[in-house]
C-alpha cells in the first residue's frame, strides 16, 4: 500500500515537473504577413491564450524561414510609429496576449527565401519556464482586415 502511494506520488510529481507553461497555452489565428517583394522582414500575429493559473511570459520566438526572430512592439507616439524589441510578452493567468498589426508581433528578419501565400511557417514560442510550443502560421497577403482571411474560404 505504501509502495503504491509512493508510486502515485512519484507519478504526480513527475507529471508536475513535465507539465510546463506551454501546456496551458493555446494559440488562435496565427498568421504571417506575406512580405512584399524586396522587404527583408515581416511579422507574425496571433492571439496567445493562457488557461493556467500562473502568468506566463513568452521569452523567445523562433522560425526556420528567417535568420532572425524577435519579439517586438510598436509605440504610437502622436502618430509616429516606433518599433522596439521587447524582452518578453506577458500572458496573464486566464488571460491573453494579442499580437496584431500596429502592436506586439513576432518580428521575422532576413527571409531565407521569398514566401508564398498559403505557406505554413512553424513558429516556436519559448516560455519563461523553458517549455515551448510550436504553432503553424499561414502566410497571408497584407490586408486591411487580415483576421477575416481565414473565414472567407
Amino acid at each position: 500500500m505504501k509502495k503504491l502511494s509512493l508510486l502515485a506520488t512519484g507519478l504526480l510529481f513527475s507529471a508536475g515537473v513535465l507539465a510546463g507553461a506551454a501546456d496551458n497555452i493555446s494559440v488562435q489565428d496565427p498568421y504571417v504577413r506575406l512580405a512584399p517583394p524586396n522587404a527583408p522582414a515581416t511579422a507574425a500575429f496571433m492571439v496567445i491564450k493562457n488557461g493556467g493559473d500562473k502568468d506566463v511570459k513568452v521569452v523567445k520566438a523562433d522560425n526556420p524561414a528567417t535568420r532572425v526572430t524577435e519579439l517586438h512592439t510598436h509605440i504610437n507616439d502622436g502618430g509616429v510609429m516606433k518599433m522596439r524589441p521587447v524582452p518578453a510578452i506577458e500572458v496573464h493567468a486566464k488571460g491573453e496576449a494579442v499580437l496584431k498589426p500596429g502592436g506586439l508581433h513576432v518580428m521575422m528578419i532576413d527571409l531565407k527565401a521569398p514566401m508564398k501565400e498559403g505557406d505554413l511557417v512553424p513558429i516556436t514560442l519559448t516560455f519563461d519556464d523553458g517549455s515551448s510550443k510550436q504553432v503553424d502560421a499561414k502566410v497571408v497577403k497584407p490586408s486591411a482586415a487580415p483576421m477575416q482571411m481565414d473565414h472567407k474560404h
Binding site: 517583394p37 522587404a39 504610437n76 498589426p101
Partner: protein, 201 residues
C-alpha cells in the same frame, strides 16, 4: 436617528464641496493640440523613381496620397499601403484614374528606386515609389510635417529601424496639402476621403 443625521451632515458637506469646487476651482486645462488645423505647408517636390524623376506637379488635376515609409518596415507600412490599396479598389475606374499614390522612402540609404517600385506595386499598380538624397528627403518631410528618425535598436535586423509618421497625406488636385489620414483608417473611409476631394469644386 443619529446615523441619519451624520449621513445628512456628510451629504451637506459634500454638496458644499461640489459647489465650492464649481465656483472657485479654475483648473488650467492642458491646451489640446489642434492636429488637423495645423497642417504643414506641403508643396511641390521632385524625387527619383525607377522610371525617372517624379514631380508632384505632374499630378495636377489628381488627388494625390503621400505616404512616408521604408521597405524594411515590417508592419506599419504594409498595413497602411494595404488599406490605401483596398480603398483604391473601392473607387470606380474613372475615379481611380484621377488618383495617384506616392510612397516616399524615409530610408534613402537602403531603399533604391528599383527596390521601391517592386515593393509598392505589390500593393496596387497605381502606387509609385520615390526616394532621393537624404537632404532632399529631409527637405520634403519638413515641409509636410513628417517626422522620421533612424533608431539604433537592440535588434539583429540590419542595425536600425526608422521611426516615422504613420499618417497618409492628402494633396488636392490643385497641389495643396489638405488633410491627413491616420494609420489604420478603414478602406471605406479612405475611399470616402478620396471622393470628397475628387468632387470638391
Amino acid at each position: 436617528m443619529m446615523s441619519q443625521r451624520i449621513l445628512l451632515a456628510i451629504a451637506m458637506l459634500l454638496a458644499a464641496l461640489v459647489v465650492g469646487v464649481a465656483l472657485f476651482w479654475q483648473p488650467e486645462l492642458p491646451e489640446r493640440p489642434l492636429p488637423k488645423a495645423g497642417l504643414a505647408e506641403g508643396g511641390d517636390f521632385t524625387l527619383q523613381s525607377a522610371d525617372g524623376p517624379l514631380s508632384l506637379k505632374d499630378f495636377r488635376g489628381k488627388v494625390v496620397l503621400l505616404y512616408f515609409g521604408y521597405t524594411y518596415c515590417p508592419d506599419i507600412c504594409p498595413t497602411s499601403l494595404a488599406v490605401t490599396a483596398e480603398g483604391l479598389k473601392l473607387l470606380a475606374p474613372d475615379e481611380l484614374a484621377r488618383v495617384a499614390v506616392i510612397f516616399i522612402s524615409v530610408d534613402p540609404k537602403r531603399d533604391t528606386t528599383a527596390r521601391l517600385k517592386e515593393y509598392v506595386q505589390f500593393f496596387h499598380p497605381a502606387l509609385r515609389g520615390v526616394t532621393g538624397t537624404p537632404e532632399a528627403i529631409d527637405e520634403v518631410t519638413k515641409r509636410y510635417g513628417v517626422f522620421y528618425a533612424e533608431q539604433k535598436v537592440q535588434t539583429a535586423g540590419d542595425g536600425y529601424v526608422v521611426d516615422h509618421s504613420s499618417d497618409t497625406y492628402v494633396v488636392a488636385a490643385d497641389g495643396r496639402l489638405v488633410g491627413r489620414i491616420p494609420h489604420a483608417t478603414p478602406p471605406e473611409q479612405v475611399a470616402e476621403i478620396i471622393r470628397k476631394y475628387l468632387y470638391q469644386p
